[in-house]
């Protein structure tokens, strides 16, 4: 076999296809991939797996990324079973099973650690501050709006001038959350709900707020990267890899909870391919 031929890499879109297959009960018994999957794909896989476990379905079928270091780290963190503050690190990957919002000092330490990792990896201080703020807001959203007893998950990876993070929760998702606010009671689909949720000032709470997504999206506004918001039956991909930022929606099978993933790089300029 020609060693220069690349083995397939599991991507987020592949995970979506697997998930689609699963809903039709025709997922293969197991699929092993030798190459590591992306951080977002591994977190999505863990979220799907956790969801089906709550439904009492076997997770055996999902063991299709055994050699993925992110996935292995998530497994080691024992999410979602562990409800204690739990952080696992493998190389440049950090996976945190998030405790409740009451563990403030612990959480602040984690954020400070992330910010210093970003500056150590040549992110300018202003950008490191903004990206750390974006992560903090996504976790705050999970605490505020997921309405779940299960802990949320944060995974991130910082490399030289590159950063990726994912926040996943097993809660009620954006649609059900926003519908709690009578102002958005008319919403019918996850796509509509995501469209509103990413706008400033839109919140499920009557006492205002709704700045979390704006902070997160602003943090990466000027750099190469993309963000993906996956909840219910929809996914929004905000593509900031081209000169003009675009939003694309994909319809998908139902997935409870919310998964926000971001990746960005200072290495690549917009409008150039990777």
């Amino acid at each position: 076999m020609n060693s220069s031929v690349e083995k397939p890499v599991l991507r987020v879109t592949d995970i979506e296809h697997f998930h689609w297959s699963l809903s039709e009960a025709d997922l293969p018994e197991s699929t092993a991939l030798d190459k590591p999957v992306s951080l977002a794909a591994a977190v999505e896989l863990a979220l799907i797996e956790a969801h089906y476990r709550t439904l009492g379905l076997s997770s055996r079928k999902f063991n299709f990324a055994p050699n993925c270091s992110v996935y292995t780290t998530i497994k080691a963190a024992n999410w979602p079973s562990s409800k204690k503050a739990n952080s696992k690190q493998t190389d440049d990957i950090v996976v945190i099973v998030l405790p409740g919002a009451e563990s403030n000092s612990w959480w602040i330490e984690q954020l400070q650690l992330l910010k210093s990792k970003l500056t150590d990896n040549l992110f300018p201080p202003r950008l490191a501050t903004a990206l750390t703020g974006g992560v903090a807001e996504m976790v705050d959203n999970a605490w505020l709006h997921s309405a779940s007893d299960q802990p949320a998950l944060l995974a991130y990876q910082v490399r030289n001038r590159r950063f990726a993070f994912s926040v996943a929760d097993m809660g009620i998702g954006i649609l059900r959350s926003l519908k709690q606010n009578p102002k958005y009671g008319w919403l019918q689909s996850s796509k509509e709900a995501i469209q509103f949720a990413v706008r400033p000032g839109v919140s499920s709470r009557l006492d205002g707020g709704g700045m979390g997504f704006t902070t997160m999206l602003k943090s990466m506004a000027d750099i190469w990267g993309n963000a993906r918001v996956r909840t219910g039956q929809a996914s929004l991909l905000i593509d900031g890899t081209q000169e003009v930022r675009t939003n694309n929606f994909i319809y998908l099978p139902q997935l409870p909870g919310l998964h926000v993933s971001v990746r960005c790089s200072l290495e690549t300029t917009r409008n150039s391919s990777r």
Partner: protein, 194 residues
């Protein structure tokens, strides 16, 4: 009577990282207590030096309600924010502009003095000009501004309306002197130290 009270945000929150609505809701009573302990009609200067990260949601849960209460007359205090790290100043702007408010911010210069005082928020140029005029004059009424204005097309009523709007936004202090309303800046400290 003390007209300006400086509050160290790091000291009252005991943190240098202030994020999220949850964190803001938790800390709001600390901001509220600090504000209400200041004399009525005084300017509360929140000093953010030493804070390394603050997000829009945090500002939205702490500073925003204070400004709203002040604007509708529920809290007779004026507010100013100083020493905000430029790395997250945009987060404050986001919240203030979204809610169509305005607030004074300043930098911290030599000897801990406040300098480079400016407005954050949407303030149209006529109001900015009026605020500048009041700041330069230290105190003035609509008739004084009308008398000294080079723009003679602005009548006394025009100046009065502008001042009333700035007063409603709590960007100037108002008091009655005889039959006249006199306006003055909410902050009279050293502004030359940067």
């Amino acid at each position: 009577m003390k007209t300006e009270v400086r509050i160290n945000v790091r000291k009252i929150t005991d943190s240098n990282t202030l994020v999220g609505k949850i964190g803001g809701n938790r800390d709001f009573p600390k901001f509220m207590t600090a504000a209400t302990e200041a004399p009525e009609g005084s300017t509360v200067v929140f000093d953010w030096s030493g804070i390394e990260l603050a997000t829009a949601s945090y500002f939205g849960a702490t500073i925003l309600p204070l400004l709203k209460m002040s604007n509708v007359g529920q809290l007779d205090r004026y507010f100013m924010l100083v020493g905000i790290n430029p790395d997250f100043l945009d987060e404050l702007k986001l919240v203030i502009e979204f809610h169509s408010l305005a607030v004074l911010v300043g930098d911290i210069g030599r000897g801990d003095s406040v300098c480079n005082v400016r407005v954050i928020g949407k303030l149209e140029s006529p109001y900015s000009e009026t605020l500048d005029a009041i700041t330069k004059a230290t105190r003035a009424s609509a008739s004084i501004l009308h008398k000294h204005s080079k723009k003679n097309q602005i009548g006394k009523t025009g100046w009065a309306n502008r001042l009333a709007y700035l007063s409603q936004l709590r960007l100037v202090k108002k008091r009655r002197v005889g039959r006249e309303l006199v306006f003055q800046p909410i902050y009279g400290g050293d502004q030359n130290g940067c």
